[in-house]
Each structure stands twice: as structure tokens, then as C-alpha cells.
């Protein structure tokens, strides 16, 4: 039997023909990386290859690593296998990896979304035979509202809190969501303050893209000056003494998980905005269709359910176990490393 072009090993997704790994979770010699989130770009590889905008982001987290940057669409050959990066639309720098060998094309998405979020390069469907997809929100219960409406709601919420003389605290994870929120806040309402972890990442992102002006909260920041303004903080700051000093305040979280009423109530957050950097159900189905692929492999999320549905509608679909943070909620578990950095 012919060896598959990409196989799932205990270290990560492996291309035997090229002897490289894609987003491996154990240290390897050569790793091709989709994006800067910590479950995809891990510590300890001898060589990293990624889209060039990811370099400052990954270095911020992992220090001085050996890394090569590529442009979107730029092909590079390793042992006769052709690789290229294509926009995934998940966060700044996020890429799908196209792998071609002997007329066979595979695409690995990493994480992605198909809505243009106005801050990262929008997702591009790539024709392929086998499509390796995430399905974090692979259930028909997930249905995103266009971000324009969501940001309208967010800005109205901020305005209303300001009218009541309260500080707005908006949670979104440090890399990706925080900058997307910043980019679309209506700065005519007030000033934007940031938690240290968010501001550190902002500094990195400002070398790549423009962001509105933000003010870092320090020990000297008086809570009176925050009133009526908005604070962007990582979810892990929720319930901390850092937050409690800001009374009177109102909290909100922006995440796909806010679809569930229970998810918001469980975290005792005042308001939930459904805003995700992943695809919703229809988004996944649309993306898959546009690749023209017949073989679909789901890596993380509601994989079993999603694969079963794909088989029912005619795809050759299966699930592979990876260490990407599938069922875990992005709000609760991801990017703690960035929060502390």
C-alpha cells in the first residue's frame, strides 16, 4: 500500500517524503508552522518554517529560535515535496499549508475562519485532494452573525456602560481576538486600556499592522480615569484582584463559546458576544466544498460528529487524534503562556 503523503504520528502531522512535521507537538528537527498560537507553534524544534508575519509573534513567545519566513503563495521544495503557505484568516499570519507530491495535493488548515475580519489576510480556498480541517465549532448549533453587527453590539454596550458611569471590561485572548477587538472598537466613545499581556502582544502586532492607540494599565493608573472607558484583558484575568480594583465595572467576553447561555453563566460574565476566529458550521461546510477535496480529515473539535455528517453527505471523511486543543474551550485553556509573558 502506498504511504499517505501526510500521516498522523505521536509527534505531529508528518510528511515522510520530505521528513518534516506540520505543527508538531513534540520537539522535531524541521517544523512547518501554521500560526502563532501555542498549541500549534511549540517550543523545542531545531528549525521553524512559517509565514514571515508569524516570526515576531513566535519569537515573542519562544525567544530566539531558528526560523525561516515565507510569503503567501511562495513555493519551497523539500526533498521533492512542494510546500506553500496560503491565508487561513484565523489570526494575523495564520496560514494553511499546501503540500504537493507526485500530482497529489493535501491542505492542512491549522485553525481558520472564512469571514474577513478586517485585520488578517482573508481565507483563500485551495484546491486539493485531501483536506485536513479543524472543526472546533463543528455543530449546527454554531452560527455566526456578521462581525459588523457584533461590533455594533459591542460598541453599544460600551456606550451604555459609559452612560451608567461604569468601566467596560472585555475579555478576549491575547493573540488574535484582542487585536481584532481593538481594531473595531469605536474610539469616539472613549479610551482603550489594556492588560499587560495584551499590551505586550500589541507591541509585536504593531510591527506588522496598525492598531488604535491603547494605554497600558499600571500600578499608577487610577480607577477613576478608567470610568467610561474600555479595558481589554485576557480571560484569565477574570475574577482577579487586578479586575476587582476597577469597580464599578461590567464584564463581557467575546468568543464562539458565548453561543451557549450556560457558558456565559458558568463564568459569571455579565455579557457574552458571539465572536470567533474559527468557522461556524456552515463556514466549515462551505470551505470544504470550495477545496474540491473528496477526502476530509478532522483534527480537533467535535470531530466524530462532524466526520459522521461528512460521510453522510458523501465525503470520504475520518478523524485523527491530535493535540490541538479541540474540545477545550478557547476561553479557559488557551494561551496561558502568553498571559504570563
Amino acid at each position: 500500500m502506498k504511504k499517505p503523503l501526510l500521516e498522523f504520528t505521536n509527534k505531529g502531522i508528518y510528511c515522510a517524503a520530505a521528513k518534516v512535521y506540520l505543527d508538531p507537538w513534540k520537539p522535531v528537527d524541521k517544523a512547518i508552522i501554521t500560526h502563532g498560537h501555542s498549541d500549534h507553534s511549540r517550543w523545542g524544534h531545531k528549525q521553524y518554517i512559517t509565514h514571515h508575519t508569524n516570526i515576531p509573534i513566535i519569537r515573542h513567545r519562544l525567544g530566539d529560535i531558528n526560523v525561516t519566513g515565507k510569503e503567501y503563495g511562495e513555493s519551497f521544495i523539500i526533498n521533492n515535496v512542494k510546500f506553500s503557505f496560503h491565508p487561513a484568516g484565523h489570526i494575523i499570519g495564520s496560514s494553511q499549508i499546501r503540500v504537493e507530491h507526485k500530482d497529489e495535493v493535501w491542505v492542512f488548515t491549522g485553525d481558520y475562519k472564512i469571514e474577513d475580519d478586517g485585520i488578517c489576510t482573508p481565507f483563500e480556498p485551495i484546491q486539493c485532494h485531501t483536506f485536513i480541517t479543524e472543526c472546533t465549532f463543528g455543530l449546527p448549533a454554531f452560527k455566526w452573525t456578521p462581525q459588523k453587527e457584533v461590533f455594533n453590539d459591542i460598541n453599544n454596550w460600551w456606550q451604555q456602560n459609559q452612560n451608567e458611569g461604569k468601566t467596560s471590561i472585555l475579555f478576549g485572548y491575547t493573540l488574535g481576538k484582542a487585536q481584532r477587538l481593538l481594531k473595531h472598537l469605536d474610539t469616539s466613545i472613549g479610551k482603550i486600556y489594556t492588560h499587560g499581556a495584551v499590551e505586550n502582544m500589541n507591541e509585536v502586532i504593531r510591527t506588522i499592522n496598525t492598531l488604535p492607540e491603547t494605554i497600558l494599565i499600571t500600578r499608577e493608573t487610577k480607577k477613576e480615569e478608567l470610568l467610561g472607558n474600555i479595558v481589554i484583558a485576557p480571560p484569565s484575568a477574570h475574577g482577579s484582584t487586578w479586575i476587582r480594583k476597577m469597580v464599578p465595572y461590567v464584564t463581557a467576553a467575546a468568543s464562539g463559546w458565548m453561543t451557549f447561555r450556560g457558558a456565559r453563566r458558568r463564568r459569571a460574565i455579565d455579557k457574552g458576544f458571539v465572536l470567533s476566529d474559527h468557522c461556524d458550521w456552515q463556514g466549515l461546510l462551505t470551505a470544504i466544498k470550495e477545496t474540491g477535496a473528496t477526502k476530509i480529515i478532522s483534527t480537533h473539535g467535535y470531530t466524530d460528529i462532524f466526520s459522521r455528517y461528512l460521510r453522510e453527505i458523501g465525503y470520504d471523511a475520518r478523524t485523527e487524534k491530535t493535540q490541538y486543543e479541540g474540545e477545550l474551550s478557547e476561553l479557559e485553556t488557551k494561551k496561558e503562556s502568553e498571559v504570563s509573558s
Binding site: 455543530l139 449546527p140 448549533a141 454554531f142 452560527k143 463559546w257 453561543t259 451557549f260 447561555r261 450556560g262 457558558a263 456565559r264 453563566r265 458558568r266 459569571a268 455579565d270 455579557k271 457574552g272 467535535y302 466524530d304 460528529i305 459522521r308 455528517y309 453522510e312 474540545e327 477545550l328 474551550s329 479557559e332 485553556t333
Partner: protein
Amino acid sequence: MIHFASLIKTLDSTNKTNIKVDALASYFKTAPDEDKVWTIAILSHRRPPRPVNTTLLRTWASELAKIPLWLFEESYHIVGDLAETIALVIPTSTEQSDKSLTKFLQEMIALKKQDDEQKKAYLFENWKKLNYYERFVFTKLITGGFRIGVSQKLMTRALSKATGINEDVLAYKLMGNWNPNTISFHDLVIEEKESDFLSKPYPFYLAYAIENEVNDLGNINDWYAEHKWDGIRAQVIIRNKELFVWSRGEELVTDKYPEFQEFLKYIPDGTVLDGEILPFPEGKIGTFNDLQTRIGRKTISKALLQKTPVILKTYDILEWENNDIRALPFYKRREILEHLYQHLQKEPEQVNAIQLSQKMTFESWQEVAKERERSRDVHSEGLMLKRKDSPYQVGRKKGDWWKWKVDPLTIDAVLTYAMRGHGRRSNLFTDYTFGLWNDDKTELVTFAKAYSGLTDAEFKEVDKFIKANTLERFGPVRSVKTELVFEIAFEGIALSKRHKSGVATRFPRILRWRRDKKIEEANTLEDLKILIK
């Protein structure tokens, strides 16, 4: 409906009691009267009967959403709420409906009698027309109660704020039998009519668990103690030659306990007794498990009446000679009650179905503690401590009445299966099944399910373990690698033929996570059976 849906949304999107009270109060000030009555009914568990069963709801929702039924079911297991799942999977609409809440409920009442085709057409029309949140509220009205953290007490407080009527008076008015479809807001809330009160129970006075050292309650001479009986808290009302039995859940259960009809002959009109319905098989107080055989039954057969008769263990009297005597000090009420009871004992035919819960006085708190240790022997859950001069208050109040339960029985068991929770625990594995070892320690036998007792952080950790260590999936249930040991606490234990383990435990819950124990150190079924005395 727009108004009601937005009220529910506000209530659902805050954890702060004051905001909830304000939102409800402002609704009660502005909504049309008939909608107010329905809102009170819904928030006090008086919904009309479900017009469409959930199987049909699932089938039709998946049809409208154009997804296979199995996919709908899987989504439901993850979302954890049927109405919410339906609202989420159905394609969204931007329309709004201007039909009132009352109109919707009247349609739902009428819908119950219609055939399936008509039901389906009705649901499709409304599901398509309503926007996401209204669709959720609409479906919730069909499927079940709103879990939005609004207790009847909180609702009553808001109504009091809106109307200026005293909260305790309102609590009384809202009790008992009233039909939201026929009663007006004026009749229900505003007007006072004597005849309305014929069947009405008084709001129950509920005790808190004792918080600190029992000595802190002060002078022992100010207190009575009683055993805390483990049955169904109930009020028995005798007015106008009629008898009514109300359970604490505000359910009229007169027909379920025909034993009490004999009271009509001997207890004078204008009497209300507070007490506990207890099983009394073979002339002895039984276990709660015995009572279970009576609770669920619609019709009570002669055989069952003989096998498991009940008694009222009475401990308080709230109305006497047609007077509300709740304001009298407890010792006065007890005098009246005891006098009545002695009188009953003198009747030529003995009144069997009533017993007096003995009040006890002690010289010291140490003696009280000793008595508490005896609780299991007399089939009680512990002690009630009641201040001698306490009035009968409304609802759960601190200070005059305390419950001092015996420490629970405990056993170490292994987590074997898990299911996702509901409400605020949706998408999180929080409903667990636990097993104990069989005799030769080769197999874990399921003995209890528990849903509470861990902190949010612990639940999160166990959830993570379950997701990473699932062995098999059976619909919503997952079998889990046997690795985690928990100390399970429960109030009572009895042999049971209905349980695989042969044992039924009362109110099992997780006491703590025994991270220090390996599964080999968990207890056996034999260990559990030893606890049955």
C-alpha cells in the same frame, strides 16, 4: 412577547439579584395585566401542560433545520437544553412577532387538543417567524421551566416593589390553586377576598442549616429540639368541612394520601397543621425509599395502602379556630397543638394517621449533641432546633429555626461514567456515575449518580480528564478510564431491588476528590451494605 422575551433575556444575562429584581419590577409596572398573570404563573411553575411531546419537537426541529435527527440529538447533548438547541439550529429570522405572551399561551393550551399536522404547522410558522431569542423563549414555554435563577421569593419581592403590597402577603396570595387563564391580575394580586383563601396553605417557614458551633445559639433554655423527619413536608388544611394537603413544592397532593381523610371527623374546621408525611409500614417509621413507592403514583391501590401507609408527623399549628396564629410564639402554638393531639387520643376510634413530633428540652448543648447521634436509630435526619418564642415566619429565614443534620454516611467510589450537564454546566461533563468493587474486586458495580459537590475549578479539571480519557460513547454517556476516586456522601441507605447494586442511597453527592487514593483503595459493595443497620 417581545416585552417578555426581553425580560427573560435580561434575567438570564445577569448574576446580580438587584438587577433581576429591578427588571422584574419594571416589567410588572408596564406589562399588560394578563401578561403579568402569566409571567407570575410561569415563574411559579404553573405552566400549562406541555402541548407537544419532546420526541415530536426534536423530529420537527431537525426537519426544519434540514439536519439528520442524530445530528440534532448530538447537538442537544452538547448544548444541554432542548429549547436552546432548537432555537440555535433553526435558520434565523429577523422578524419579530407582535403577539402577546397571553395570546401565545392561549394558543399553546388550544394546541394540546389538535392533531399532529396542526401542531407541526403551528410550530413551523412560529419557529420561522420569531428571531433567535424569541424562538428560544417560545420553545421554552412549550418544553419546560426557565432556569434563569429567579426563585419564587425573588419574583415576589419584585412584585412587591412594583405594587407596594407587602411581600409576605403576596407570597400568601400567590400560593395554592389558581388558574392563570381565568384569574385577573386584580383578583390574584390586588383584591382581598376571604373565599379565595379556602384551600390556601401558608408559605412554609424553612430553616437554614446551622452554621457555627451549636453553643453559639445561646441559652439552652430558650430552645426546643425535635427530630428532623425525612419525609415530605406538608400542610394539612381543614376548612369548611374540606381537607387539603399541600406539599412544600406547592403541590396539592390531597388525593395521594387518603389516610388523612379521617381527620375531617375529629379535627375542627379552621385548622392548619404543619408536619411531615412519613411512611409507616408495619407500624414503624420507614425509610424515604418506602415513601418513594407512594410519591409517583397517580392512583393509590388498596394493596399499596396496606403495604406502605403514611402518617402525618405534626409539629406546628398555623391556624386554629379560623384564626391565623402564626404570630404566636412557638411554645403557645405547641400548647394548642398538644392539646388538640391529646383530645384526638381520647376519641373512641383511634385516629391512626397522625402523630405528634415530640419536642425535647435539654439541660446542655452536649446533651443535644448526644441526642443528635441517635438520629439514625429513630429514622430521623438529625435535629431541628426551634426558639421557644419564635413566630412562624415566611420562607427561609435565619435566626429562630435551625436544622442540625447528622453527618452524612460516606464511601470512596470510582468514577465510571460521565454525562454533560445542563444549564450553566452545558458542554461540561459534570454528571457522574460511581462504582464500588464487587466481592472479588474484579468489577466495579454502579451504585450512585452524583451531580454536585465539586468546585467549578474541580469540575473543569475532571471535565478535562474525561475528555482525554473516554473509552466508549453511548449517546450522551461516556465510559471513562477508571482512575479517579471520590468520597461520596449520602443521607440514608436501604436495600432496593430496583438498583443493580441492590442498594439505594438517599441524596448522594460528592464530598471531596480523593486524589490520594488509587482505585484499588476504593470501597466495596460489602462495605456499603454494612452501613445498612
